[in-house]
């Protein structure tokens, strides 16, 4: 977030002071509202993200304590995460893990913060493992049926799996998560393979955030509709990698 101007940073701290939200979500809301603090705060409350902070549920805190990293008590570490996910009865490579991480504001792969963990579960009204299992199930359904939620999770994934300190996603990581999340969003397996071949054999570059985000839109809006490809406009706003991919498909 070093790219914020001082005015923007100022807005972020104002927002955070007013709502008690994290810097990260403050930035998101502000950016969506052209850095207008008032409007951002309105949207924040409208969205229900700030569901009046209940008193920290004791049960959730206790659960957190159970899995926390002994060396860093404010987080759940990699081992704790693995145990916890297993206790929830979910396979580690299930996409719902990403949805969960998104809900609990996990900063990176294999880690949960205490704040995110508690706030997340509270908003989902779950404080025991059985309740949480239920919640995860419904997340799974949402992921499959709610395109907006899927988009949120998909976009979240980029930052979540990106190696620390890097701006782009290494190509093999990107491909791995595309396989996990996007493969069945493509209209055909063949097209998905072509995309993977294209990025690994032709384009061969790490994936920037814009490409990552826009790929979902591209799949839904261009590859999905029947004549989407025919009407594709290479002069439109798509990142140029898609121009090249379309040219590759037409070849």
């Amino acid at each position: 977030m070093s790219s914020l101007t001082s005015a923007q940073r100022n807005a972020v701290s104002q927002f955070a002071a007013a709502t008690g939200a994290s810097t990260r979500s403050a930035t998101t809301y502000l950016r969506n509202n052209a850095w207008n603090v008032e409007r951002a705060v309105d949207e924040y409350y409208d969205s229900g993200a700030a569901a009046t902070p209940k008193k920290e549920s004791k049960a959730v805190v206790e659960l957190f304590e159970k899995y926390k990293d002994p060396e860093d008590p404010s987080t759940i570490g990699i081992d704790g995460t693995i145990n916890y996910i297993q206790d929830l009865g979910v396979a580690l490579e299930d996409p719902v893990v990403l949805a969960l991480a998104c809900k609990l504001e996990g900063p990176t792969m294999g880690q949960f913060t205490k704040q995110g963990f508690i706030k997340g579960w509270q908003s989902m009204n779950a404080d025991t493992i059985p309740k949480m299992k239920k919640a995860v199930e419904s997340l799974s359904t949402d992921l499959a049926n709610d395109p907006a939620f899927f988009k949120q999770v998909y976009r979240f994934t980029f930052g979540f799996v990106r190696p620390q300190g890097q701006r782009v996603l290494p190509l093999d990581t990107a491909v791995e998560y595309w396989k996990l999340l996007l493969e069945d969003k493509f209209p055909s397996e063949d097209l998905f393979c072509k995309w993977i071949t294209f990025v690994t054999a032709e384009h061969k570059k790490a994936v920037p955030k814009d490409t990552w985000n826009m790929l979902l839109d591209f799949v839904v809006n261009v590859l999905g509709p029947d004549n989407g490809l025919d009407s594709y406009d290479a002069e439109g706003a798509w990142p140029s990698i898609f121009d090249e991919f379309v040219a590759y498909l037409r070849r």
């Binding site: 923007q8 839109d217 706003a237 140029s240």
Partner: protein, 723 residues
């Protein structure tokens, strides 16, 4: 006068009686006036009936004559009557009209009204037919009495009476009874004539005919028609003569262009410009024609010249096509703005996208820059000043059409730097005149580097003098055995880069080198001097050759060659390896420099083998002979030249990316949030003056800027600026 008095008395006679007791006072005077007025009408009607009767025996021209004769007499009489009945006019008529009786007129008008209703209406069609017959005769080339028609027209005009104000002239009669039939007959006449003429004659002849006819009709208006007819008459003629045959004319356009018939083209332009949208289809044809001519000229040149295309020949060929059609536009198309635009479009096409440019679109600006270099470089046959300026203006003419102005700039800068460094410029005046022309065309930014280069040259001269003075002060003359000149040039403004080789400066030069280095550091501490050895040169005096006269030869050599030759002061033969060790030059430069010396037979290659082969030996040629006393051995290496063009092209690509990125950032900084399409358009608009950016290239730059977090995508097709 007597009659006037009588009328007065008649009109006033009743007054006394009425004053004596009859209550209806004013009625009496009025009745009296009315009686007189009615009598007058009666009289006029009888008179006109007679005229009508008499006119029955005349036809055609004689009818016209008769009409004019009686009309003149009648109107004169009417004027008299008007005077005589002035009293009636002034009182009775005026009062009647004031009271709203519109059918009562003053006497003069009354005469005209009666003329019209009794006589004119009954004969006008017969008479008009006669008039039209007369005009047709004239159109057929016979001589007729113009004044007759003029008189008739006058009569028609005068008969037009305004119901409300008798003094105003209304053209209603003229318009209805004269102009209408006249225009109709004109239309039929020319319709027939043009149809016949076109069938039997060429288009060019027809245009001449139409031109003459149009002129005649304008003249006819002046001769005997009312001025107001001109507009409708001309419009009718234009429709029949031009509009109806416009397609035919336009079809001939291509042929005239091919044959370069300027007179006829001018004629066609003048004719078609008279009708609406008449020229529109010609512009497209003209544009295509010029483009094809330009492309053909270049194609011919390219096939003849093959690989070695002479920049001058190329530019001359472009100019020739441009000049021919620029002249045509000026002469035949009166510099019509749309034709000028078509010419510009065509020129831009054939200058930027011809056969020569097919491999690389930047060929045109490159050749143009090379031609300007040839002009501005000192040569045996330097052009006269005025001549040179005209040629520079020619370059600007083509330059205007160049799309990739940045490519021209790159090459021009490179060649200018070479001219300045090697001192091969024709004149400072010509150089600065060219720069001011470029500045005028492209703005200050475009030429700022070029101007900086001149500034550096001047600063270097001063520096040179200061250095010499400092050395003369501090050193013995015996220590200053070497003539030394230097140019200190700003890295950012000159397209010069150090080359990739090590180099041992010859011992003889090291002292001077060190002296300048410390002198410069003392003046500007912290500045770094990079020595561009590949551009340095010097002169060596050779006293050894046996054949030399007393003066000895002077070798003009590069500093590298100097480093090779100076060791021969100590020995006659060196091996390649020895020379390599002494000079420390890499193979490319050592071999290149050696090869020239061997070729000029300054050094002799011992035994067989190529220059640069391991173990080859080089001996000083004691029998060196040359016609000239000064021998130029400083010839640029072939590989250098080629590399030059390649690096120029490479830097152009880099510069373009920078230019696009900075334009995008500038736009976004100002607009904060922008749609993709708008951003692309504005970027193109900003950069167009330098080169025409391609959309995919712009998109790559946007991708790059998003990745570097200068921009952010806020939804599908909008970006916002991140500070």
């Amino acid at each position: 006068m007597r009659i006037y008095t009588a009328i007065y008395q008649f009109c006033t006679a009743a007054r006394p009686t009425t004053q004596v007791g009859h209550p209806a006072t004013s009625r009496g005077a009025q009745l009296l006036g009315a009686e007189l007025y009615n009598k007058l009408i009666e009289y006029l009607e009888i008179h006109l009936e007679n005229i009508k009767l008499e006119s029955g025996q005349f036809a055609d021209e004689s009818l016209i004559k008769y009409y004019i004769r009686t009309w003149n007499r009648y109107t004169t009489g009417a004027r008299y009557l008007n005077h005589i009945f002035e009293y009636l006019n002034r009182h009775w008529v005026k009062r009647e009209r004031d009271e709203g009786r519109r059918t009562v007129y003053d006497v003069n008008t009354l005469c005209l009204v009666k003329w019209r209703s009794v006589f004119f209406d009954s004969i006008q069609s017969k008479q008009m037919a006669a008039v039209l017959k007369l005009i047709e005769k004239q159109r057929n080339g016979e001589t007729i009495e113009n004044t007759d028609i003029k008189n008739i027209v006058g009569s028609f005009v005068n008969l037009g009476l305004d119901e409300h104000d008798s003094r105003k002239v209304s053209l209603s009669v003229y318009k209805t009874y004269f102009e209408g039939p006249f225009i109709a007959s004109t239309e039929t006449y020319y319709k027939d004539e043009s149809k016949r003429f076109v069938a039997e004659n060429s288009v060019v002849d027809y245009m001449k005919k139409a031109e003459v006819r149009l002129q005649e009709e304008t003249g006819r208006v002046q001769l005997y028609l009312h001025q107001s007819t001109e507009k409708i008459l001309m419009r009718t003629c234009e429709t029949v003569l031009i509009y109806d045959h416009a397609d035919l004319l336009r079809d001939e356009f291509q042929n005239l262009l091919e044959a370069n018939r300027q007179e006829d083209l001018k004629r066609m332009f003048t004719l078609l410009s008279r009708i609406q949208n008449g020229l529109e289809p010609l512009r497209g044809k003209f544009e295509t024609h010029v483009r094809k001519q330009g492309l053909a000229a270049i194609e011919k040149l390219a096939t003849e010249a093959g690989e070695n295309l002479d920049p001058k020949a190329y530019v001359d060929a472009l100019l020739e096509v441009y000049r021919q059609y620029a002249h045509l536009v000026q002469y035949a198309f009166s510099d019509d703005t749309d034709f000028v635009k078509s010419l510009d479009n065509a020129c831009r096409e054939f200058i930027n996208r011809n056969k020569v440019c097919s491999q690389s679109s930047s060929k045109s600006p490159e050749l143009l820059a090379k031609y300007s270099d040839a002009l501005l470089k000192k040569s045996g046959k330097s052009a006269e000043d005025s001549d040179l300026d005209a040629k520079l203006n020619d370059i600007m003419t083509i330059f205007k059409y160049i799309d990739d102005k940045d490519v021209f700039q790159k090459f021009y800068t490179r060649m200018l730097s070479r001219r300045l460094v090697h001192g091969t410029s024709t004149s400072d005046d010509a150089e600065s005149s060219m720069i001011s022309k470029l500045k005028e065309a492209c703005g200050h930014e475009y030429t700022s580097k070029l101007q900086r280069m001149f500034q550096d040259m001047n600063v270097s001269q001063d520096l040179q003098i200061q250095f010499r003075e400092a050395m003369a002060k501090n050193l013995e003359p015996s220590e200053l055995t070497i003539d030394f000149t230097i140019l200190v040039l700003g890295t950012n403004f000159w397209p010069l880069t150090p080359i990739n080789t090590t180099f041992n400066l010859p011992d003889e030069l090291v002292k001077t080198f060190e002296r300048f280095q410390s002198f410069y550091q003392s003046k500007h501490s912290g500045r770094k001097l990079t020595w561009l050895w590949q551009l340095s040169k010097g002169e060596l005096k050779a006293n050894y050759p046996k054949s030399s006269n007393k003066v000895g030869y002077t070798f003009q050599v590069s500093t590298f060659q100097m480093a090779i030759l100076l060791p021969y002061n100590n020995g006659d033969t060196y091996s390649y390896e020895q020379l390599q060790q002494i000079t420390a030059l890499n193979k490319e430069y050592l071999v290149g420099s050696l090869a020239i010396l061997v070729k000029a037979r300054v050094l002799l290659l011992e035994g067989s083998g190529e220059v640069g082969d391991p173990g080859t030996r080089y001996t000083l040629n004691m029998d060196f002979k040359n016609k000239k006393i000064r021998v130029n051995l400083n010839i640029p290496l072939r590989s250098e030249q080629k590399q030059d063009t390649e690096t120029t092209h490479k830097t152009i690509e880099e510069d373009r990316k920078m230019l696009m990125q900075s334009a995008i950032v500038r736009i976004m900084k100002a607009r904060k949030v922008l749609k993709h399409v708008v951003l692309v358009q504005e970027t193109i608009a900003q950069i167009k003056s330098r080169f025409t950016p391609k959309v995919p290239e712009i998109k790559k730059c946007i991708d790059f800027l998003i990745e570097k977090e200068y921009l952010e995508r806020i939804d599908g097709d909008r970006y916002s600026y991140l500070a």
